[in-house]
Symmetry: C2
Subunit: 205 residues, 2 copies
């Protein structure tokens, strides 16, 4: 670091025009989560507080600031689908981020087609080239280092079925960049796309 | 999705030359985690099972397949530092991923300089342009959807102090791409770099 460092404590204040934390911890993978409530009403929404946390079995996690429909559905039904958000589907993904009433089906809102899953009861987004059917392991509320509860819920789930458009497999190897995944940056509008040119190789020593 | 879909259930087998899951859920942000044990021995290692999960206060999480030194240190000391892994520091970050004995200090191994933190007792990487001092909230073992415990530990922590090289602030706004962060893809060697050209803007509807 150079000698000119901006330092702050988040609980005191960042002292900048915008909170930089989501721009620092970015860009982030997007969990485009389809779910349904107990009555079968569908929900679809993007979460960039999302990642994989174990390989075998694959465990993914997302969190929702405030207990949004996706979290309530995960609690009620115990299932969701991760759909890959690609550059081609970016505008439609963005439409599903609108704050709408629980009875609004974001599949319809964004002109997307629900397709039946194989193992679980929640449909995937047919237009997306990759879908992961997930069974919820745990839903819990986050807490700060002072143990005070935070109004944010975390969902951990196991991937129980995987669907990949075969156009993304090269000799059976999944080609990350070929899918043109999009990632969420900070600020109100920042996204990043992944292209083959962005790739470089480093082998573990 | 086209009509040619490769589908599988992870617990049964992926039926491909390589497990595609880490390539699908990628590229991923890297938590380059410095920690220390109770005797003050330093550790530094990259984790791509990492992300932010809450804004205010900022909560980050990483997981470690097998209970590695970083997790043991987080449990013993309750603190760690997130350091930003940039394109410039990629080779050094890669050196810190070597599987070495607990008494090996990866700062020395990679020729990096520990710099004192402000709030916690664990040093940051001086060469990295961003550091987040973190206090551990929870350390727990993951479980599958069948509730069986998995040999992977998850660490949740609150960011209690932030340090940003001022060269990354434009009119006080943090410029994600200017830092040239690197992300982890799948396979043995895949990384991606983020450049300003990769950015696009979409406002929430």
């Amino acid at each position: 670091m150079s000698k000119r460092i901006h330092s702050y404590q988040p609980r005191v204040g960042h002292g900048l025009p915008h909170d930089p934390i989501a721009s620092i911890l970015g860009p982030r993978p997007i969990g485009w989560i389809s779910s349904r409530d107990a009555d079968g009403r569908l929900n679809l929404a993007p979460y960039s507080f999302f990642n994989i946390f174990n390989y075998r079995p694959p465990i993914v996690a997302f969190s929702s600031v405030c207990e949004k429909d996706s979290v309530r559905n995960c609690r009620a039904v115990g299932e969701f689908v991760y759909n890959l958000a690609t550059r081609e589907l970016a505008e439609q993904m963005n439409l599903t981020s609108a704050a709408v009433a629980p009875d609004v089906d974001e599949f319809s809102l964004a002109g997307l087609t629900p397709a039946a899953s194989k193992v679980i009861s929640v449909p995937r987004v047919n237009e997306s080239p990759v879908a992961l059917e997930c069974r919820v392991c745990e839903v819990f509320q986050l807490e700060g280092a002072d143990t005070a509860l935070i109004d944010t819920w975390m969902v951990l789930a196991e991937v129980v079925a995987v669907h990949i458009d075969e156009s993304l497999l090269r000799d059976g190897i999944y080609d990350t960049a070929a899918a043109r995944p999009i990632l969420r940056g900070g600020g109100a509008a920042d996204y990043f796309e992944i292209t083959p040119q962005a790739r470089f190789a480093m082998r573990r020593p």
